[in-house]
């Protein structure tokens, strides 16, 4: 069951989107995704259904999160309160709506 690479929406016609995965296009159903999807958006796809719209600014945030995880791991002792708070904020509210 291929979970698919995130793809870019080319066209939306009713509940069906044409999504481009690096040059290969597939039709994907929008019945399940919980946000309106427009051409240019990126979506996560599973067995022919878009299950999540991926906000593009999330990518930068995810990479920043990974940097923080590295820093935390390199620390031997307990984290400082402020770093813990920062991390919690990134994790819980992750999806910018």
């Amino acid at each position: 069951m291929c979970l698919g690479v995130p793809g870019r929406v080319i066209e939306v016609k009713g509940w069906i989107a044409t999504v481009d995965f690096f040059g290969v296009q597939r039709q994907v159903s929008l019945q399940v995704v919980d946000e309106p999807v427009a051409p240019g958006d990126y979506v996560l796809n599973h067995v022919g259904f878009a299950i999540r719209r991926i906000p593009e600014d999330e990518i930068g945030e995810t990479l920043a999160l990974y940097e923080q995880l590295i820093e935390l791991a390199e620390r031997d002792d307990l984290m400082a309160e402020d770093v813990r708070g920062e991390l919690a904020a990134t994790k819980s509210g992750g999806g910018a709506e």
Binding site: C2, G4, V5, F21, F22, G23, V24, Q25, R26
Partner: protein
Amino acid sequence: MSRDGRRIEMRHGAGGPAMRELVGSLFARGAPMGIEGGVGLGALDDGAALRLGERWLVFTTDGHVIDPPFFPGGDIGRLAVCGAVNDLAVMGATDVLGLSLAVVVEEGYAHADLERIQASIEAACREADTRVLTGDTKVMRRGEIDGVVLTTSAIGLVREGGDPVRDAGLRPEDEILVTGTIGDHGMAVMTRRHDLSVGAGDGELLSDVAPLNGLIAAALAAGGPAVVAMKDPTRGGVASALHEMAQKSGVGVVLEEERLPVRPAVRAACELLGIDPLQVANEGKALLGVRPEASDAVLAALHAHPLGKHARRIGRCTATRVGSLILDTGFGRRLVTESEGELLPRIC
């Protein structure tokens, strides 16, 4: 009366270990490795090499059952010519004297389709600077065969003073070169079968089917005897071809994933279908094993030829892990296996 209840399965035609086992234990059983220093059936190489006076004559045969017979970038006719020409080319026989063509066609098959196929055969022969010398035609009743099956045999000569290039000549430190992008043919056929619509331009998935004798001649002119092994990665892809070369040569091979030339559309299609590009058939590519001191010259010769623009150095041979193919992914290493069965049935 045999009590052997075994049946032939699709994997016996997949180009991988099951097929080699079948051929080795049945069709090639007892066959000599070579006759008077040549290359015989027992070597299970891309062709056989026989001494003809001062020159080496190479002889090969190929069956073609591809489905669909017309695919993006080519058809069964082009494939039949290029398959045989390329088998000769990777043995070093780049001067193709001619082909035989046996056609078995189903009752009811469209004459217009045979015309298209013949036009492709003629065009491919012109590109390879060769011709069909002889042939045979048979018709089977509707339903007894699927469409059309072509069998081509070819004879060619190795350049004067040259020896046949086997697939068993690799040594540790030798470098592995590929003449261009991998996975094109198999994925082009897959998109037809799985109804993946493809974008225009660079996103298009086309078979790479092409005659390689001109390209290989250029590589051999540059590298001479430093080109120690060659094979064309058809069914089973680069993975099968390199496994065979490594096993026969008694070396291990390490490939670097970052260096593999894969077109973005092929990579995307592979991701979507969960297929490894290394296991996908190619019909216009060759793998060359080259001594390290000559690889720059050979690479330059490949780049100078229209069919070799994307040639790359993709790996090297090792003395350890003999017979294994390892991929360095950039993160870590893993083994590359041959696909067990028919990843892509009737791909050639």
